[in-house]
């Protein structure tokens, strides 16, 4: 196994850092994992109850027939876009600071998508009939496009995570033992780092990076089509495609930042994950936040200025009436505060950026709720207003899914290296201005 440019001990230190989450987790982390596990189990239990009793156990009704499951679907799949895009765009543009964060980015993309992709099924009245998507597809249906796009995206995301992992597994094989060793050996597929292997890996990674961008744009565009291809006021909008795409990247980059900050802090990876990488990601995030704020503004302005009655009815419900608290909370905590936290030098610390990204994640979840639910509460005929607040089953399933994503990410990096060893070593310049590596007992 050949890793270019670096001394043996330095390389071993990097491998040890990448495998740090595999060490014994300690009491606090074990407790966290157990609590998350209980929340997941409760969510699974709630879903089993819903399966047995029917979807009537939710708070959904004939007016508001899509609720928090649809929000989960859009939000969680949106989260995955940030990871996929960060990894892809930074690779394609050759940004050297990407080294320490691509693996975490790809990992978050994978786990959030894996959980998000469950919700198209969870929200069905007859989930056992989902196979009919394949046996009698109706090609005109936006939901069929959703299904095709999500499954394609899932496939690409699996490859996006696993292909760059191949050399790392070969490199780290000697540093792990037991079942991990066998797993690493099998999955590394005889990687020894020959020029031919490097060439193939480089081409595959580039091809995936190019591929994942249009695929992800497609996913979020057709997700928006489930809303905008109807004649409903508040949904029937040409901006919805790009609106959803930007929302997805915005919230997704926040997920990558939060995961990076947490891994960096908990496993003391400060020497490997430079603050610079987190900072650049945060700049990207607030740029997207400004863009999303602009989209929100322009959507409101076009609808409000013209003042077509059904559209302004939905608009004022969100801005001024029933949902105004939620909307302005989103504007403040989901847009303004995160942007200020990153913009202001004194709060532009890992902690500040972590808080900013957490606010963005919560704010964008709330915003998706505001996209899905308020338009449904306004009647298309007559004046009977729909009412919806998620029921206990829906809340438990949503909480279970959120906990499940975190638990999956923890599990993923209990098994696989959390840093892109090969990529970091190949980028080389990562190491030049680093502080001296503490002696971690290099045994080789």
């Amino acid at each position: 196994m050949v890793v270019p440019t670096e001394s043996r001990s330095h390389r071993q230190a990097l491998i040890d850092a990448a495998l740090a989450p595999q060490r014994h987790p300690g009491r606090v982390l074990t407790t966290v994992a157990i609590v998350l596990g209980i929340i997941v189990a409760t969510g699974v239990g709630a879903y089993i109850y819903q399966l047995m009793s029917g979807i009537g156990v939710t708070a959904l009704n004939d007016e508001v027939f899509w609720g928090i499951y649809t929000v989960d679907l859009v939000a969680f799949i949106g989260f995955s876009y940030g990871g996929a895009l960060v990894s892809a765009i930074l690779r394609l543009t050759g940004a050297a600071w990407r080294g320490p964060i691509t693996r975490i980015a790809e990992g978050t993309a994978l786990v959030t998508l894996a959980v998000g992709a469950l919700f198209p099924v969870i929200h069905l009245g007859h989930p056992e009939r989902v196979w009919q998507f394949f046996t009698q597809p109706q090609l005109d249906s936006p939901l069929l496009w959703d299904m095709v796009a999500i499954l394609t995206y899932l496939l690409v995301t699996v490859f996006l995570f696993s292909i760059p992992l191949i050399p790392d597994l070969a490199i780290a094989e000697t540093s792990v033992d037991g079942w991990r060793k066998r797993l690493y050996r099998r999955l590394s597929m005889n990687w020894v780092g020959t020029p031919e292997q490097e060439r193939v890996l480089g081409r595959a990674t580039t091809a995936l990076a190019i591929l994942v961008i249009p695929v992800a744009v497609m996913v979020h565009t057709v997700l928006s089509y489930a809303f905008s291809l109807t004649s409903r006021p508040g949904w029937f909008s040409t901006i919805f495609g790009p609106y959803f795409v930007v929302a997805a990247i915005y919230s997704g980059v926040a997920v990558v930042i939060l995961a990076t900050v947490l891994y960096r802090r908990i496993y003391h990876l400060e020497a490997w994950i430079e603050e610079r990488s987190v900072r650049y990601l945060s700049y990207l995030m607030i740029a997207l936040g400004v863009l999303y704020g602009y989209f929100t503004f322009t959507e409101i302005t076009t609808e409000g200025y013209v003042g077509e009655e059904s559209a302004t009815n939905v608009l004022f419900t969100i801005l001024l009436r029933d949902y105004s608290v939620a909307f302005w909370t989103f504007v403040l905590l989901g847009l303004v505060v995160p942007i200020l936290l990153v913009a202001w030098r004194r709060t532009r610390t890992p902690l500040g950026m972590g808080v900013a990204s957490a606010l963005v994640i919560l704010g964008m979840f709330l915003k998706r709720f505001l996209i899905v639910v308020p338009p449904l509460t306004r009647p298309l005929v007559g004046d009977e207003v729909g009412i919806y607040f998620p029921g206990i089953v829906e809340i438990l399933i949503t909480a279970g899914a959120a906990a499940g994503m975190i638990l999956l990410l923890i599990g993923l990096f209990r098994v696989f290296p959390v840093l892109g060893i090969h990529e970091m070593a190949a980028l080389g310049n990562e190491f030049e201005d680093l502080p001296p590596i503490p002696d971690r007992g290099d045994t080789s």
């Binding site: 979807i55 009245g125 998507f133 109706q138 005109d140 249906s141 936006p142 069929l144 409903r232 005929v381």
Partner: protein, 277 residues
Amino acid sequence: MSFDADTMLAHGVTSSLTGGLGRPGLSRRQFLKSTGALGLSAALLGVGLERVLAADDLDSLGKLSEHQWTMVFDLRLCDGCRDCIKGCQKMHYLPESAEWIKVYELKDAAGQNYFMPVLCQMCQEAPCVRVCPVKATYHTPDGGIVVDQNVCIGCRMCMAACPYQVRVFNWDDPPQVPAEVAQSDPELQIPQQKGTVGKCDHCLHELREGRYPACLESCSMGAIYVGDLMTDVATNGVETVQLSKFLRDGHAWRFKEELGTESRVYYISGWGEDLDY
């Protein structure tokens, strides 16, 4: 003005009846697409034939265009008693919460209240059919739209797409249906299944047997007419009218015409004049 099947095919059924309300090119295309083309191509391919047609023998192909059902609501007569809702629920064994026909109390331009019953508008360019991912909701050869309860996955996309808000979800088990009433035919939607979307089925099960829809039967005001575009006849169960003349004389309009759904349910508002019948 007289109508026969060939004239209708040539000019488009709805547009020739409403004198410009419809769009001739589209409705003709739609008509051919939704009936002949769909039925024939399915028959030729042998794919899903039993779902396109009520019966799966080739004889029924000949019946494709024998009737093209339509409904007319004379709003001058509707007093908002909601008997149509009760009749419909009884016919289809629906819980009280499931209204396949709804009666709205609306205000006209002069500020007068009026009642407007709304059921499935029988769109020939139906948004609900287009968005169903598994072809569970589809056009019947006689102009109706039904949901195959055995296919519907309960995604509710059709509820999002329907501009008329006429689709209802079966959140719970429907009331018990006597065994002799239960239908195995997917177009005859009794009983409903929990977890699927339900909607007005135009009482095709009654119309095809020569009986009236339940809402019409239970309307004591005679405000509900069922008609046949092929024979240009409509009736409210008491009197029979020439459909095209009735629509023209009453300045009939279609709900949300601007959405291009090419619906087959007509409304007559009247202008406050005395009724001569």
